[in-house]
């Protein structure tokens, strides 16, 4: 695989790496026919992000030939090292004119080369590990609720929460009122906590399709990482969610770039023991496991780690929002990527 990024897109790539670094410790690099995909997942499998850069994002994009199994070569590298290359975003913008990334399976290095002004070039030869395909199973079309807003609105909302806050609850009430509240554990003493709640009216959003009152709780840290990227890209952010316990999907789309962040959400309050598994042990999916069995109760996002197509995780939406409602039209163009 070989690709070249020039001009302002170098900074976009850098910002994507920064957002991914908020998710996991390893960066999965996967060239595909549709472009270069950079992915990350956290250790408890409760957050997954994927940035897909279309071939047109690059000045040059060659995915490389498939190997004996018909697959394109993919690898993973240490996030810390990759991030160090793109660490200083202002300096990327000011001094880097070109970035070349090349991955040759036969060589043992991923090469990232930055061309600075004044004829200076920095070449990084990073060691990588081969890896299985990293793919979260989700389908936006099966999410009953959708919100769409400019990133600015959401950034201005989350700025009110302390930086250390772990989880936030997004709720949609009657008449389309959208609220954001810091999540407070049931075990915490009410007299020792401060609750902050922010309400946004429907007209701050570009689209609100929520069939019934609902609220979901997810981790704020990873969400902030995506928001920071979204704000600089000026793209509207869509949030697709369902009942508590099912993953929420945050996405940005434009012809050159597609971004998906999938976050697990806290299951219902009567299953408080499940909340303990929030940062629990990693749930590794073996290649041949049948996913359709018990993962509905799991806090973890199902991760597909092979290329064998597997059934979509959760049962279809008809068990959830059976009543018809003006808001429940399925969203078009959702892709189970």
């Amino acid at each position: 695989m070989k690709c070249v990024v020039i001009g302002g897109n170098v900074k976009v790539l850098g910002k994507a790496v920064h957002a991914l670094s908020r998710i996991g410790d390893e960066l999965y690099v996967e060239p595909t026919e549709n472009g270069l995909s950079l992915r990350a997942v956290n250790s408890s499998r409760s957050a997954y992000a994927c940035f897909l850069f279309a071939p047109l994002f690059f000045q040059l994009y060659e995915a490389g030939g498939p190997d004996a199994h018909g697959e394109l070569f993919r690898c993973k590298v240490l996030m810390k090292t990759f991030l160090a290359i793109f660490r200083s975003l202002p300096s990327l913008e000011k001094t880097v004119s070109k970035c070349l990334i090349s991955l040759n399976p036969r060589a043992s290095r991923l090469v990232v080369q930055l061309h600075y002004k004044y004829g200076v070039t920095k070449t990084h030869n990073l060691s990588f590990q081969e890896c299985e395909l990293l793919q979260a199973i989700f389908d936006k079309q099966l999410c009953t609720s959708t919100l769409c807003a400019s990133a600015r609105v959401l950034v201005d909302a989350v700025v009110h929460f302390p930086v250390t806050l772990a989880e936030v609850t997004l709720g949609v009430g009657p008449s389309g009122k959208v609220s954001l509240r810091n999540y407070v554990d049931e075990e915490t003493e009410p007299s020792k906590t401060m609750v902050t709640e922010l309400c946004l009216s429907e007209d701050e959003f570009q689209d609100v399709r929520v069939p019934q009152e609902t609220q979901v709780t997810f981790c704020l840290k990873e969400f902030r990482g995506l928001l920071s990227f979204a704000e600089s890209s000026n793209l509207p952010l869509s949030i697709h969610f369902d009942t508590p316990g099912r993953p929420a999907v945050f996405s940005l789309e434009d012809p050159l770039l597609e971004v998906h962040l999938v976050l697990a959400t806290l299951a219902d309050s009567n299953a408080s023991s499940q909340a303990q598994t929030a940062n629990g042990a990693c749930h590794k999916c073996a290649a041949d496991e049948d996913f359709a069995v018990d993962d509905l109760e799991s806090y973890m996002i199902a991760m597909e780690t092979t290329t064998v197509p597997l059934p979509v995780l959760w049962v279809s939406a008809d068990t959830v929002a059976g009543q018809s409602s003006p808001y429940s039209q399925p969203r078009g163009a959702g892709r189970g990527q």
């Binding site: 660490r87 200083s88 004044y118 200076v120 070039t121 920095k122 990084h124 060691s127």
Partner: protein, 277 residues
């Protein structure tokens, strides 16, 4: 030449400092009307607590002093640099326009303390810092006739590079060559290698005189302290000799336009492994 009499009693009195009436005779007197010039330079070499000061008639610092008199052929003493810096900046380190600290530095010779007279806004402070036995100064025996390769670069090209050096690498490898890659800095860290290449035609390159391809490795821990001098400098000269010894000369221009130089010497790392491409 007669021994210099203390300030106020003879010709060549320094600016602004109070007279020392003790009748002591000085072997070294240096006066400076902006102590900051000296403290800035000393900070550039402040990576160990002690420094050996060698003053000769051609002392490196002679260019910035208004008065610099040395009685003996060379005056050497060891002094705690941290304390010296603290004294030089005793009136504070911020530089308000129109104010400056005047300095008169005096030394009577072996066994005597280094006396600093500092004055700002009519307030005089006298500091006496005990001096120590001078230790053997390393003589790298780096002479210009043995220089094989020489480059002068504008410092701004190296500052970020040095700040972002992969510190998991034990060594910094420097390649200088009349052919590609011309000038290359390489590190070999935990996650892989990194190479920073400068073209000889680069706008940052002021002088490029490389006769022979040389690749030398230096312990990165030895070179890291030089980043302080790099940050203050406008230009740096990088030279290697036939043994692979490295000389870094940083040209620092202070706010009055005076030029000073800070030099670093480093010997190559003994265990040289195969260069990783």
């Amino acid at each position: 030449m007669p021994l210099l009499l203390p300030a106020g009693a003879g010709a060549g009195a320094g600016a602004g400092a109070g007279a020392d009436g003790s009748g002591a005779r000085y072997v070294l007197v240096a006066s400076l009307d902006k102590a900051r010039h000296l403290s800035t330079m000393l900070r550039a070499v402040h990576f160990r607590d002690v420094a050996t000061c060698v003053a000769t008639a051609n002392g490196l610092k002679a260019g910035i002093f208004q008065e610099f008199v040395v009685q003996e052929e060379s005056v050497t003493f060891r002094i705690n640099l941290t304390i010296l810096l603290d004294c030089l900046t005793i009136f504070g380190t911020s530089s308000l326009p129109g104010t400056s600290t005047a300095l008169r530095m005096c030394y009577c010779g072996y066994g005597y303390p280094l006396t600093l007279f500092l004055e700002e806004g009519g307030v005089v402070t006298v500091c006496k810092i005990n001096t120590q036995e001078p230790e053997e100064t390393l003589d790298f025996d780096f002479c210009s006739t043995n220089v094989v390769n020489k480059i002068i670069l504008q410092s701004e090209g190296l500052r970020e590079a040095f700040a972002e050096l992969d510190m998991t690498s034990d060594v910094l490898q420097i390649t200088m060559s009349p052919e590609k890659p011309y000038f290359r800095l390489s590190t070999f860290g935990n996650a892989g290698s990194a190479h920073l290449d400068y073209l000889k035609e680069s706008d940052l390159m002021e002088v490029f005189q490389c006769n022979q391809t040389q690749t030398n490795r230096y312990k990165i821990s030895l070179l890291k302290p030089s980043t302080k001098a790099l940050a203050l400098s406008c230009k740096v000269s990088i030279r290697t000799d036939t043994r692979g010894f490295l000389s870094l000369q940083y040209m620092i221009r202070n706010e009055d336009g005076q030029i000073c130089f800070v030099e670093y010497y480093c010997c190559p790392d003994e265990d040289v492994a195969e260069t990783e491409l």
